[in-house]
């Protein structure tokens, strides 16, 4: 087990190094530079050059990379050019809406997908099954921003039940903030539910054919008891995997939805950082987002290894 652990952690480290290099390279080939944006549209090229010097952007790229990497090892992601605060602080400020949005969205998607997937599996190849699958497929075909716009015009403008956008006024209570997240979480949750429904269905189908289920049935257990108690339990780990990965992806991937609903989350931060070329923030955010994904991945692997000792041999 320890050998397996060390191996996976070594892997993880290697991947993270590749991620860090990729992040730096991608970000630094962006045209445009933060100095020009900072000095404004009425300023001269000389003013921009001076600002570049102040920001340390006049150093050669490899030197800048070494400085960044050195600080990274100390756990310092640098200072945002526009926001005047450390990148970690900026990220921490944006974490809340993204975290809550992700959790709510995953909750909604599980609430929809688990029952739908189980029902589809039990009634496989019937009209019910086909209807569930067709619905899942349709939902997966809708552009999320379009669904967001439709939700806004229906549930925020025509029927003003939810705020149009934003994350409440300064000092808004937790309830008010969560209220702001309902519509975006519905959009994300619905779209995410498509994949989880299909996955739940197929995992359940796999399990329903296994011997121990047949045994249970043979023992005379009621069909629903078999399904809910035994089959679901066995199918749960693969389902959990897909939910976990969904969670990890959403943490950084709710960008479009955050933009539509003007939520001050991590995704929105990255988009605005790209548009104003806030290099340290783009680098830091991308790195953190990718790391979360990699770590969740490894955690899932380890979970498997704990549950199923055979995995360790691979």
């Amino acid at each position: 087990m320890i050998g397996f652990l060390a191996h996976r952690l070594g892997d993880m480290l290697a991947i993270l190094i590749v991620v860090a290099v990729m992040v730096f390279v991608v970000v630094r080939v962006l045209p445009g530079d933060p100095a020009t944006i900072l000095v404004g549209d009425n300023a001269s090229p000389e003013a921009a050059a001076l600002m570049r010097e102040t920001l340390g952007l006049d150093e050669p790229i490899p030197v800048q990379f070494l400085i960044w990497a050195r600080n990274l090892l100390r756990g310092d992601l640098g200072q945002s050019i526009f926001l005047g605060e450390p990148v970690l602080t900026v990220l921490a400020q944006r974490a809340e809406p993204t975290l809550f949005l992700t959790l709510m969205a995953v909750m909604i998607s599980v609430l929809i997908a688990l029952p739908a997937g189980i029902v589809a599996a039990v009634f496989r190849n019937t009209v019910i099954d086909r209807a569930v699958l067709a619905f899942a497929m349709m939902i997966a075909s809708v552009p999320s921003f379009w669904l967001g716009l439709i939700f806004i015009s229906t549930f925020a403008v025509a029927h003003p039940w939810f705020p149009v956008s934003g994350y409440g006024a300064p000092g808004a209570s937790l309830a008010e903030r969560l209220h702001c997240l309902v519509l975006p979480a519905l959009v994300l949750g619905l779209i995410k539910s498509a994949l989880i429904t299909r996955f739940t269905r197929s995992s359940m189908l796999d399990v329903l054919h296994e011997d121990f289920i047949l045994t249970c049935r043979a023992k005379g257990l009621g069909e629903w008891a078999v399904i809910m108690k035994h089959a679901l339990r066995s199918a749960f780990i693969p389902i959990l995997t897909i939910i976990g990965l969904g969670l990890a992806l959403l943490l950084g991937g709710a960008i479009v939805t955050e933009t539509v609903f003007a939520l001050p989350g991590v995704g929105n931060l990255v988009v605005s950082a790209v548009l104003r070329r806030d290099y340290p923030v783009i680098q830091g955010a991308l790195l953190v987002i990718a790391s979360v994904y990699v770590i969740v991945n490894v955690a899932i692997d380890l979970l498997y290894a704990l549950v199923d000792p055979r995995v360790r041999l691979r």
């Binding site: 404004g40 300023a43 000389e46 001076l50 605060e85």
Partner: protein, 514 residues
Amino acid sequence: MSMRTKFLRLALLGSVVASLGLDPALAQEPKRGGTITVATVGEPTTLDPMVTTADLVGAITMHVFETLYTFGDGLTIVPLLAESDPIITDGGKTYTIKLRQGVKFHDGSVMTSADVLASFDRWKAVADRGKTAWSYLTSVTAPDAHTIELKLKEPYAPLLALLSLNNNAAAIMPASNQANPMTKYIGTGPYTIKERRPDQFVVLARFPDYTPRSDKPTGYGGRRTAYIDEIRYVPVPDPNTRVEGSLSGQYDYADSLPVAAMPRLQGQKEVTPVLQKNFGYPTISINNKGGLLTNMTLRQALFAAVNNEDMLKAAFGSTEFYTLSGSLYPEGFRFHTKEGIEAFNQNNPAKARELAAKAGYKGEPIRFLTTTQFDHFYKIALVATETWRKAGFNIDLQVVDWGTLLTRRNNPALYEMSTVGAPFLAEPSLTFTAGSERPGWWSSEAKDRVVGAFNAESDPAKRAAMFGQVQKLIYAEVPYIKVGDYNVLRAKSNRLQGVIPSSWSYFWNAWVDK
């Protein structure tokens, strides 16, 4: 109070007020207290008023930092931290400025000439406008604790306007707090920066020890009173969100709304549309330094083809929101003149082809930069491109993000034209369009002569008359193409009172009616 009862009351008061010569907006008693939320077009790139020319930064920070002079009604220049108008001697080469006494900074210290000298040094180091000013200044000294003296190489009329602007501002800060990048925001303004949470809000709080002027308010000048406890600026980049938020009462003031929202804002109980006339003028900036358009005849050819009305209509909808005007300053401004504007809005493709042939144009691609981040820029560019293509020009329309546009615009090898906006500044020489050191780089023998004479003249009346020649030259040499004037639509909640419409919205002297 609803709009209607307020109007009734104003109508009743009208005659009395008029006879007393009072401003009707002040007829109602201002109240202290309350908090307002202001929706801005985006996140300010910094809160340091010196380093950027961004309007948004200036509009927020002018509540916090003050300058020696500022703009009064009709864009006159009035003293703010200065006691009075400067005493100009030595044929316009020496300015002696008396400072107000007892003005307190947010850190409790009292402003003296030492703070002004230090701020001027910082202004020179970090601000573009500071560099411009210092290219004329030979020395800035302090004869005593409440006087400063500026000496110039040659007479330079735009100097006071430079000292008055709120962006790239010659803001006065304590000599002890001059760090760059700025870490503490200490000014003399009626508000202090209480909290900034990037992309969420900037909260300003009343500065209790503010030292106001005693003269009556005029434009951004005169007596400033902070009635409102807290001003919360929230960045709302999506224009439709600003509209919806205003309608739902989320925002007390929302900037720069899509004109299409006008009908929805009218006739509402809680909110009033505010139309700021002649807010600015979008232009098609031309690169005069590198590339194809260094050829003046080709610039004239492009200019002959444009259809300003189509551009304005596509960008701003109806005439309620734009004015088809070739004058570089709208009516009512000191520099308004009709000199040379017969060349405006020619819409003459045949002439364009003829001039293009004369210029030796053979269909080489003309690179035109624009961005969708500012909706009207993109619309103007798209309409212009179509018009030019029909007239036989090979336009390479490059739609990039604003950041890329600004960077590319600084390199004369990379483009021929770009879309930019411009406010009506009190001083024509301060706009990017006139400077030869800014992108656009207009420079010609005639320009040196005409604009040089204009800048050296210090008598405002004579300068206004001389501006006709400048405008005429601009229409002859086409260093850039003015599209037209536009109005900006804003929304104000009815509980917010006493806001005077102006280019940069300010909230001192305004109050909340509870």
